[in-house]
Symmetry: C2
DNA sequence: CAAATCAAGGTTATCGTTTACTCAATTTAA
DNA sequence: TTAAATTGAGTAAACGATAACCTTGATTTG
């Protein structure tokens, strides 16, 4: 087997050529004091000439810092994770850390193996992007004092470890309020699994908006899904088959909204003329839908960035001001909502 | 600053407790011969007890292998990259390598910085997932003898370095042939940028299919896009405004197909009744469209897996059987294509 | 002018493994 | 029974950089 990677010059070589010790070169590289201007310049020049790059492994071994941050994700899928990753990427680029990527695929064995590998100090910190709370991981990480931050919708808000989320309740409220403002009175919601606090938060927001508008809540208009497209399809059919179907559907997330779209397309019900649909998340692909989906924007990239920055601070040994931070959601109006067909509400 | 990560036990400690030298422990860990059964058992037990994990950095420093594979991607976006990443993930999980993720964001400076960092032997190999040929990177990698494999549609097929692609031409041919088989005669195509060989390959396949079916090629039905949704919208409008519009549109890729959908939705033209649409790539989100998009499947995950495996072989110092491999595309029939409205072709 | 301070730089141990080489004890072959 | 081969284990030198601790000469200070 031939030598694979070209042999690069080491600090020792640079030191020799410059006629100094490696210590001095190290000082220059790490911008530490104790080196004269002339010497420094000479060394810098040599470094340039040799196209010298510090050996990562040696540095890591000595300093105990790998320069690596591990991201655990459940499943490489939706735009949700992608949006967050984008933000993480951005934040890490500045810090010079490399992002290691790992998908658990919901397999516990895989997950454990991964966790075990991290324990050899090969990671500086961990970002958890798991859709439900994997207490196990968090606990292990805590035990081993590996810094980490959890991002996104999770089972329970906690202050035991740092988390980044968004104002879900407000999002649910805003979505519903918007539909009301368009004149809708019969507004359905397809929630996520109700054992998740974030699903309940959406629903609570929905309820609050209706109540404030003085609209009675009709339990028939509240369906539970599992945040998957198929649930959207199914629940939409169920809603359409109601004796008195809604004029608008708040889909809980964008995937379910896509499902609602499909059901409506099948039934030849035009959006937004005959039915308004609003999503949640504002995943990248929602803008691609026909018509483009009005939805609640979660600042995914910002959440990722925030989480990464918090982690970086943790790694640097600094204290966090707050263990849980929530970024704000906002309404993105596109083309899937309009006033209900019959115009204004009939006089009572 | 307090100690951050828990101090883990080292080989030395294990060795001491077992009353052997570190060499012996190392042999056990690396499954090398030269250790008696009893000793081996004793050491293994101690390893278990201590929950010992090898120190990555030390190992890396000594062996010159980081256990890391870097993936360069242009931009964290579509399902295209995601699909491929999924395959890579799978392949690497088996080998135990960690996947480092990097998005160039099309910024050359960032890219250079990244490349420079890899040169310190901190990577075992590189996977290039860049939509156009970044000769610079490949050349540098080649120079420094860093093993790498390029994946996906690229500018020019090459045998200078290993690449993984798919049978694009055949895909273009199949898509067109399928539309013809449904009875379409006026079939439009929205290509990608024609300076890309992969765009030209789709077009060539389209032409061949038409020719074989004895259908004259109408240049008015051939438009060029840039693989973006907006191009799909725009070109679709142009096609609809033709004196004699097509009855089917081959959209070049799925994003453009989504654009076509939007334009058709605006004009209230129903798919597939009044217009058939076929995509290319079979990105995850196409199944979410309304109606679900019929498209040409690129085996993205398989491509990623293949590329990763090739890279692994390269890293192990093995020869590749072939420098360029092409996996086959296939037709995925969903609901966006049907026979043209007017039924069969009028007799001539 | 002696003592204290300081800046520039060097010595050396160390981080935790791997590996080439050595060595003694034991087994095998002749 | 003795030389040769095999086996189980140890020694010590890397791998490349960092950091605590010195040394030296120059400059400052009282």
């Amino acid at each position: 087997m031939e030598q694979r990677q070209i042999k690069r010059s080491t600090m020792t070589q640079i030191a020799e050529e410059a006629g100094v010790s490696t210590t001095t070169v190290s000082k220059v590289l790490n911008q530490l004091p104790g080196v004269g201007a002339k010497t420094r310049a000479r060394i810098l020049e040599l470094i340039e000439q040799h196209d010298y790059v510090q050996n990562h492994a040696a540095r890591h071994l000595r300093k105990g810092q790998s320069g690596l941050i591990d991201l655990a994700i459940m499943r490489l899928e939706g735009g949700y994770d992608l949006g967050i990753m984008r933000g993480i990427q951005d934040a890490l680029e500045e810090s010079g850390h490399r992002l290691v990527f790992f998908a658990t695929n919901e397999d516990e064995a895989t997950e454990l193996l991964w966790l075990r590998r991290l324990l050899d100090q090969s990671t500086d910190g961990v970002l958890l992007l798991l859709p439900y709370e994997r207490i196990g991981i968090a606990k292990t990480l805590l035990e081993h004092k590996i810094p980490f931050v959890a991002i996104g919708d999770r089972n329970e808000p906690t202050t035991v470890f740092p988390t980044v989320g968004s104002t879900i309740w407000l999002g649910g409220y805003t979505a519903t309020e918007y539909l009301i403002s368009l004149g809708h009175r019969r507004i359905a919601i397809i929630t996520g699994p109700l054992h998740l606090t974030t699903s309940r938060a959406r629903l609570a927001g929905y309820r609050e908006a209706l109540e404030r508008a003085g609209i009675a809540i009709d339990p028939a208009l509240i369906c539970e899904g599992n945040y998957l497209l198929g649930d959207g399809v199914q629940q939409a059919y169920a809603l359409l088959d109601l004796p008195k179907p809604p004029t608008a559907i708040f889909a809980g997330n964008d995937a379910q909204a896509a499902g609602v779209y499909q059901a409506l397309y099948q039934r030849n019900i035009r959006i937004p003329d005959a039915m308004s649909v609003i999503g949640f998340d504002d995943v990248a692909s929602t803008a691609q839908m026909s018509p483009p989906l009005t939805t609640i924007h979660q600042p995914l990239a910002e959440m990722g960035k925030m989480a990464a920055n918090m982690l970086l601070r943790l790694i640097a040994g600094q204290q966090l001001e707050s263990n849980h931070v929530e970024l704000s959601t906002s309404l993105v109006v596109r083309e899937s909502c309009a006033a209900p067909r019959q115009g204004l509400l009939p006089a009572r």
